[in-house]
Symmetry: C2
Subunit: 220 residues, 2 copies
């Protein structure tokens, strides 16, 4: 199998945490053929987005679909809790991260240059994010989190796979827009972020994301 | 259990098709307490959106999460195929419907009145939809559909639950915006739409949606 991806993409990073945690060794990580959104890549994955998983000529797009597929195909160790309600909380946290956190965060990427920035649009997005961070904290609490190492229960789940890369983007991107400490109003989320970085698969992917981030920011 | 919903909501209709097909009889369908987006309703479901499923004081939002929960809790009859790749295609079709079809379709709702319409915004959304309908047809084909009664395989799945309400909105809403036959360029999707209406649970929900639509359009 091949995972078309980049190390910095939070959606691809979500899949890599899972792949490392499950020790799936027959997936080769490589860049999208022809580049992201290219006509060549669209013959593989029609949306032109990453990640996509190629399996014997079939291509699955959408990180969430890939994660669920890998759970179905490689059930052990499971990153879906046994209890059906816990499992639903995992899916809820994953989806909230995807739609209500990463979606607005991505709106900030074209505004990175402070000399070429639509400040009204930025302020609007920052206000949405502030509301949605509170929503995220609320869902984390509803899922049973108080001060543990993992989002739901006491083991790594697909919720952590989704949340960790989004938190990386959040804490690294928002200071550029004047938000020095994005987690200041969400104490459980802050505690979660501190604790989850001890997990081996999460820590490995966070290092890979940091390398990718340094490269685009013009670091050494 | 209670499903907070309305009969016209395509997201709630997705859950109702599943509930009818699985004959789950202990779910009461009722409107969101205090109304959609109200402060009262947000104490139940923080996004203020519908549907939401209340289970012994716990509330799950997001139709996709609710559908997966109901499959986990009431596994028979299963609306997820046995084969893991088919199962992934079901999830892919559901997600494409959700994000690439319903999301832009919802942008058209505030533009219903032809005398108070931002035509530039409408044209932009219609162009996105045209591209995304082709994407939908592509995913339907990749999932193995040629001319059967169901989207994936020969039985009702969660893909049908997601697609049918979106197709209802599409064929009923787009003529208002000058698109007389939205399915003219997507022959497989057109065939699918014709065939799937024979399914009992789909046909029941389509009648309920039609009632709801007639009510908001000022019909008898």
């Amino acid at each position: 199998m091949k995972l078309y991806q980049s190390n910095l993409s939070p959606f691809a990073s979500r899949c890599r945490i899972q792949i490392y945690a499950k020790a799936i060794d027959d997936i080769e990580c490589c860049p999208p053929p022809g580049g992201l959104s290219s006509d060549e890549y669209k013959t593989h994955n029609p949306t032109g987005k990453m990640p996509a998983l190629e399996i014997d000529g079939h291509v699955l797009g959408e990180s969430e679909v890939i994660c669920e597929y890998l759970e179905d195909r490689f059930p052990t160790p499971s990153l879906r809790p046994q209890d059906v309600l816990d499992r639903a909380h995992v899916r809820l946290l994953s989806r909230v991260t995807d739609l209500y956190i990463l979606d607005p965060l991505f709106d900030l990427f074209p505004q990175m240059d402070p000399n070429n920035r639509d400040q009204t649009a930025v302020d609007k997005t920052l206000a949405v994010l502030k509301t949605n961070f509170a929503l995220w904290e609320d869902y984390l609490t509803r899922g049973g989190y108080s001060d543990g190492d993992y989002a739901v229960g006491d083991k790594l789940t697909l919720a952590d796979c989704a949340m960790v890369p989004a938190l990386f983007v959040m804490v690294n991107l928002l200071p550029t827009f004047g938000v020095a400490d994005p987690l200041v109003d969400t104490s459980r989320l802050a505690r979660y972020w501190e604790n989850i970085q001890k997990d081996e698969s999460c820590s490995r992917v966070l290092s890979e994301m940091a390398e990718g981030f340094k490269a685009i920011m013009g670091g050494a």
